[in-house]
Symmetry: C2
Subunit: 695 residues, 2 copies
């Protein structure tokens, strides 16, 4: 048994005493993220409309809390004269929203495999356009997380000033919550965030209905329970430029609409219909909220207040107070608004990993982005998003007001790309259709063309209006991201080209490798390693490094020489073994184990130009963290050096030696132990049998 490398049975303690190395981490992960999910469970992890609205709609719905206010803030700057334009501007935005809704309904049906702007542009406008869309939307998603959380926490802090010192920790806390929930899965996020979402939607529908009723019954001049502060007097005339800026600011209310089309693949079957229903609910609710706010706010004469001044109240807060007074209902409504502002980043956590997966599958992002994680979500994308947004939050100290203008640019660029791509799509479709169907396709084409024109025009307005407010950052950031994506693609393409094997396997018998065995002294490790080396090849060379510990060491060289004679050479002579291993002493003047070994590898390579050199490294397997402190980690350093510098004719063989024989089950989670993996073997015989049957 010993010659076979097996530890003595008497030395193996029962395996259940041997703690798995990662057991603490695994327990923690299990608590935070839940048990691992199998591939076959993916169906159960798909979401319906109920979870879809919170998961993919939080961004869109929460924008009703700041979009109208942003437009109103621009108008309020010129006093009462400006406020009159609030209604028309919001109507324009609602019309644009309607066009977008119709367009995206069509996109979802046409591209049920997650038809975001990236896919649509790739299929219809080419690789460069798709990368532009991908870059814009990726930058947007990252900004959305930082800005969304920051906006929510800023609102919370202005409501509860004693939290002011904790702005950044609060932001990071929300970020960690969102990350953990989304690592658990989209379903869990959808369910957890359903309560605040539906509470917000419900309470503001009630408020707006009450306010609307009061406005209509009072002939347009309702009585406010809590009167809003008077708007400032007119200071300048209303010009076109002001109206364009107000429109551009109000467009932030639409930024979440793309999310559903990016996330189609997270829905359950019938996928297209569920996604369309979800989109419809989100857009109709958003439209109601936007329109209601515009009408009621105008009726009650509510203006935006300066956020920098003390006593600031948001438009929503003024509205709720005016209509229902400062009672319990007011506080529930405002608290839910705060909550969904904080959680609006959740939509990015659903959309971003899905987008990155598509981009990574095309080779423009690192491959791990396309790998499903423990809970069947694309964990790498989730973590990357969290880290990038976290860095932004830390860099800006949790206050990201200046990033808000950047937002709408990315979103409207994406809208325009997506619509333009759909126009091309329908034009292609037109070719193969009969006359009766062509009309339907023409209708689709017109809708998307209208969408493309409208969002394109809006994009132009936004870029011009926001350029000096920081919009130029997007103009810089997006090309940088595109270059990065292309560089990654070039690396992978080059790698695939290099790895591609156009030749068949060769079946001429080569010589066995020359085996170098690294040894520290004569012990069981060396015995096991030499035994294996002799099984692999007749050419075995044991290598011992001297003076590794320092100038005073090296006294044991003589001892090892005697042991070698007694334990290796004498029995080899006795057994008339023809290929007795040789022992090589290497001096390590700089006490670095790998350089002398690499030098002798080079020498052996030079002497044997056709043969493979196998470096055999015995390693004591460590099962406790403290063992890493007690052992120098030489085996590992040696392995790294041999692999990094050895060259393509060198391979490394690691021979483990266990203090306690391990049990393979320890490496498996409970779930894996319960459901053993399936396997099937393809052998030449079986293949011939099968092809025989077919013939």
């Amino acid at each position: 048994m010993k010659a076979n490398g097996e530890n003595r049975p008497g030395q193996n303690r029962p395996s259940h005493n041997r703690p798995g190395r990662g057991s603490v981490i695994e327990t923690l992960t299990r608590v935070c993220l839940g048990p691992p999910l199998a591939n076959r469970e993916s169906r159960q992890r798909e979401i319906g409309v109920l979870e879809g609205v919170p998961a993919l709609g939080l961004d869109g719905l929460s924008s009703s809390a700041y979009g109208p206010e942003a437009a109103l803030a621009v108008l309020t700057a010129v006093g009462v004269a400006g406020l009159g334009y609030f209604g028309p501007i919001m109507l324009t935005i609602l019309a644009l929203l309607g066009v977008l809704f119709l367009s995206y309904r069509q996109t979802i049906a046409a591209y049920p495999q997650s038809g975001g702007a990236y896919t649509v542009a790739k299929e219809n406008l080419g690789a460069n356009a798709s990368l532009l869309a991908a870059a814009a939307i990726m930058v947007d998603y990252v900004l959305n997380v930082a800005v969304g959380i920051s906006a929510g926490i800023t609102a919370l802090v202005s409501a509860v000033p004693m939290l002011h010192a904790y702005t950044l920790p609060l932001c990071l806390g929300v970020l960690v919550l969102l990350t953990l929930v989304n690592l658990r899965g989209v379903v869990d996020a959808g369910r957890l965030f359903a309560l605040p979402t539906y509470l917000f939607v419900g309470s503001f529908i009630v408020i707006l209905l009450l306010g609307g009723y009061a406005a209509v019954t009072s002939g347009g001049h309702p009585h406010a329970l809590v009167a809003p502060p008077a708007p400032p007097p007119a200071v300048e005339a209303v010009g076109l430029w002001l109206l364009l800026r107000a429109f551009a600011s109000g467009c932030t209310a639409m930024t979440g609409v793309e999310a559903v089309s990016n996330g189609v693949s997270v829905f359950r079957e019938p996928r297209v219909s569920v996604a369309r229903q979800t989109l419809a609910i989100i857009v109709v609710t958003l439209a109601f909220l936007l329109g209601g706010i515009a009408y009621v706010a105008s009726a009650y004469g509510i203006a935006a207040m300066d956020q920098q001044q003390p006593g600031y109240q948001s438009v929503l807060s003024q509205l709720a107070a005016a209509i229902v007074g400062r009672g319990a209902f007011y506080y529930v409504a405002i608290a839910s608004a705060l909550a969904i502002l904080c959680l609006s980043a959740d939509t990015s956590f659903v959309g971003f990993p899905q987008l990155c997966r598509l981009v990574a599958q095309d080779g423009y992002l690192p491959r791990p982005f396309a790998t499903v994680g423990r809970r069947l979500v694309f964990s790498v994308g989730v973590i990357y998003l969290a880290v990038t947004a976290g860095l932004l939050l830390v860099a800006f100290g949790g206050i990201t007001d200046r990033l808000i203008p950047l937002f709408a640019i990315g979103a409207f660029l994406t809208f325009t790309m997506s619509q333009t791509g759909m126009v091309t799509h329908w034009r292609r479709e037109l070719g193969g259709k009969r006359h009766g169907e062509r009309r339907r396709v023409w209708l689709h084409l017109c809708i998307n063309a209208t969408g493309a024109t409208a969002t394109g025009a809006a994009l132009a307005v936004i870029i011009i209006a926001k350029f000096t407010d920081g919009g130029w950052i997007m103009i810089v950031a997006i090309p940088v991201v595109i270059v990065l994506l292309k560089t990654i693609k070039r690396y992978y393409d080059g790698l695939d080209e290099r790895l591609c094997d156009r030749e068949a396997l060769q079946f001429r018998k080569g010589k066995p490798p020359i085996v170098l065995v690294a040894m520290e002294g004569w012990n069981r490790l060396t015995d096991k390693a030499l035994t294996l080396a002799m099984e692999l090849s007749p050419d075995v060379l044991a290598v011992h490094l001297t003076a590794l510990e320092g100038p005073d060491a090296g006294a044991d060289e003589r001892k090892l020489r005697a042991q070698w004679a007694a334990e290796v050479e004498k029995p080899a002579d006795a057994a008339r073994y023809p290929h007795t291993p040789q022992l090589l002493f290497l001096n390590a003047p700089y006490r670095r184990i790998h350089t002398p070994l690499l030098q002798s590898i080079k020498r052996v390579k030079g002497e044997n130009p056709e043969r493979t050199i196998a470096v055999l490294i015995p390693e004591l397997v460590k099962t406790h963290w403290w063992q890493y402190l007690l052992h120098g980690g030489r085996a590992h350093r040696l392995l790294s050096a041999v692999l990094e510098y050895g060259g393509s004719r060198v391979v490394a063989i690691v021979v483990p030696w266990y203090l306690q024989e391990p049990n393979i089950e320890e490496a498996m989670s409970e779930e894996e132990q319960a459901a053993p993996a399936r396997s099937h073997k393809i052998t030449a015989a079986r293949r011939q049998r099968r092809s025989g049957k077919r013939a």
Copy 2:
């Protein structure tokens, strides 16, 4: 060539274009620590008296700055009546110092291989006593670093109050400086710190001579240039307890005396004589400073001031101001005193690694403590000391006053152990000596016995006087350290027992291993790995994991099957190869690569109870940090899992694949390239030739 695993020549760019992975780190290390030193350079790195006094004497000499003051502080508490006892107490301490000096002179001669208390106790009093000594002195060294730096920086901060906010960063800065200098080597530390040391010694010798001359010529009542503040009035009578406490406090002035005997091995030859000269210079200078301070301070009527009060001035500062006034000389002297207080920790950095090396060679500390580092110092000990002291400094915010009492306990425990050990040593020596020599040995014995008695008595006084001031912490810490040391020893002994091989190598020809080849698809990596596998064994099984990316993946299984038929099975049939590799598809339901593979390893092990299983892992070698982001690191995870859980019949073979063929020289430093390592080979033939010559 391809079948041999070599990359195509055309694909190899010139090797000098390929940057070494650690090149930035190596450049930084080279700047901070200097070039690596070879074992043969160790002679040049030994120190003489000139460097020895700063390197090993800083602790002792700097204690003159706080030892007398500590004693005086206790006495000042009872007013003028107490000050009269300052002279007698300092005389007692000087007498003790004399005894210690004579004792350690003898110890150095008797144990020239670093004769610290650990070695002396081990040779004469047994393992347990030696561990007690080692634990006491190790704890002491760590405390000395934290307290020394903290005391220096506290003095600096009280002199320059605007630095107060930076106390901790300043402490850590000094710690980093000391660590880097000592990682460079003892010689460098000795040379760098010579200037402040000799400046301090020189200026205070001048000050004390001037003060002493003034005191003598004025009949004991010299005129102070800057009058010291009047001592407080008497508040209580002087009791024995107060005198004992003053004595115990004053004993901190002796704590650095052990260092030279611990560090004997860092001196150049003639080692004993150089070490004795260094010890003599340190002790005589210290004695002069202590005696001088006692005499002159009494003459000038200087008392200790309360450190907590504003306007505090140290005894040295009062003394210098009284004798030479507040001119340039005063500031030079006080600045040098500050500098050596900060740097007093340097002595620990020399002594601690040397001690740890001895303890580690005996198996009581992790083996890396006994390994010489880049610059021929025991780097692990230096770094461990720095980290532990750094943690103490951070934990106490850079203010470690409360740790000062702990000091003297460790030092005097060590003194007593060392002297007692020497008494036993001489008693044993007595046995084998003739009458004439016995007298000399008796003299040695008496000196050490006096030393043991005196330091033992002092230790008892210190423990009693300091117990409630925190002395109890040492009484707790030392046993904890001893238990830790013994646990480490037990682990190594158990390991050696398990690893010890009492059987000779067996030479019956075993079967070759069964080779499992992990593959991701058909490419050059797989080709190279399979070719190697077939060189090693006729039993080759290629393993492909499906559904690793997630539930949607796995479409390429059919493609791989076709490639396998075309690239492996067809050519194998054509070449009539008898052992065509088989292809095994493994399903990974939880997307973890290692568990299905471990399960099939278990199955193969079960089916082949006598054979070794080799898992062949192809790995793309990464040379840039960003490549780790672009590749998933599966090969590495697989290797770890196979080694950790595979069991003793499993070995791992890593087959590297290079994008660019590496050059072995890249792994070597300039120095290693300049001086290639020597090697010599022991072969059976050569051995027989040699033994033939002998016969």
